[in-house]
């Protein structure tokens, strides 16, 4: 029962990007196209699940005072794995995401979940939490990317959705567009939340 609850809470109710507001940098930088967004989301999910499992396993033998450095080392190790695997098997995407793959290390979502969840819960629940949060992150990245790619390029995941006569709003895939999209999405979510109450 609790397994399912931990799994689903990250997707909407405690969505890491829109509700907890963590991990902004990759959200803005890699949401230029749906393909990039999903690639980033999957890479971060993998690191999140692995680090949650390992941290939950070693939580009893980690001295409390040095737990943060221990988490950072664990996370950095998994990030290096993802970095090398992606460079070997999907070099195009790896090149596209570039700097932001090693920067998964400093993604606050991952360290945040390690400290707030995996540190206190058993392995199975930590794994569920990792998968859920990862999916939530991937989902919000894809939502951002959907808006930006359709407006800025007229395509969705590489498929053309707008008519050829559509003049792309280039700004949507440039840096300012990222800020505007996220700001407007946040405002919409706040508006909906306000209505509910």
């Amino acid at each position: 029962m609790s397994f399912i609850k931990e799994l689903t809470k990250g997707i909407i109710k405690e969505n890491p990007t829109f509700v907890i507001v963590l991990g902004m940098c990759p959200t803005l930088a890699t949401s230029t196209s749906v393909n990039n967004a999903v690639g980033m989301g999957v890479a971060a999910t993998f690191v999140l699940v692995c680090s949650n499992i390992l941290i939950s396993l070693i939580k009893n033998i980690t001295p409390d005072k040095i737990r943060i450095p221990v988490y950072v080392v664990v996370i950095a190790a998994f990030v290096s794995v993802v970095d090398m695997v992606m460079a070997a098997f999907i070099p195009d995407l790896h090149k596209e995401l570039g700097l932001f793959i090693p920067l998964i290390v400093v993604n606050c979502i991952i360290l945040g979940r390690a400290e707030a969840f995996a540190n206190k819960n058993n392995v199975l629940n930590s794994m569920a939490d990792g998968i859920g949060m990862g999916l939530g992150f991937t989902l919000s990245l894809s939502v951002m990317a959907t808006f930006r790619e359709i407006l800025g390029n007229g395509t969705w995941a590489g498929m053309r959705v707008m008519p050829h006569s559509y003049n792309p709003m280039l700004i949507a895939i440039l840096a300012p567009g990222a800020f505007f999209t996220l700001g407007l999405l946040m405002a919409t979510i706040n508006l909906l939340k306000g209505r509910k109450q």
Binding site: V73, L99, L103, V106, F179, A187
Partner: protein
């Protein structure tokens, strides 16, 4: 090009054209979190400049003289983040001892410089080959760290200045806080796009 010319190009590029916050999206958490008051923004900016300069220098040396000779370059992410964590701890102790008021104002964002992606970002960018295939030498890597830190502080202070005035404005409820901060950042990024046209 002589040294001063190169330095000038680098400064303009790091501060205006390729600003870490507005064009690389690095260091957004402190950018939005500590930009409510001018004083704490200034303190944070100084701490970030120091950490970025030191991190660039030390990470470059570690990469060049430790990781490359032993063929351990795949460990660079791990080595860099540990270096940065140690540095931040050091800065934290110094500020706590010498400027307790600033220490209180910065609060949780001080230890969070460790997870400030701008710091790790500049360390990784320094060892990444440039467009023409060459890499930075030690001096330029350190300078790049320093100037990128200055660029970060520059937009942080600008943001703090705007936000202080924005407090007096009557805003729609749903736009308050983070949402308006994002729109503000977008507008600033748009303004900084004007510098893209500079040919240097």
């Amino acid at each position: 090009m002589n040294f001063l010319g190169q330095l000038f190009v680098m400064a303009v590029s790091a501060i205006f054209i390729q600003n870490f916050v507005l064009s690389w999206f690095l260091g957004l958490c402190p950018y939005l979190g500590v930009s409510k008051k001018m004083d704490s923004a200034f303190g944070m900016g100084m701490a970030v400049i120091f950490v970025m300069t030191m991190a660039s220098a030390i990470c470059f040396l570690i990469y060049k003289y430790l990781l490359v000779p032993y063929g351990l370059t795949y460990l660079s992410t791990l080595a860099f983040i540990l270096t940065i964590a140690a540095l931040v701890q050091f800065v934290e102790m110094v500020i706590q001892k010498n400027a307790p008021a600033l220490y209180k104002a910065l609060g949780v964002y001080l230890p969070l410089i460790t997870t400030n992606c701008a710091v790790l970002g500049v360390a990784i960018l320094n060892i990444t080959p440039l467009a023409d295939g060459s890499t930075y030498n030690f001096l330029f890597a350190t300078l790049n760290g320093f100037l990128s830190g200055v660029g970060f502080t520059f937009v942080l202070l600008a943001m703090a200045g705007i936000r202080q005035r924005l407090e007096l404005v009557d805003m729609p409820k749903s736009m308050e806080g983070f949402a308006s901060g994002m729109i503000l950042a977008g507008t600033m990024a748009l303004a900084f796009y004007g510098f893209m046209g500079l040919k240097i």
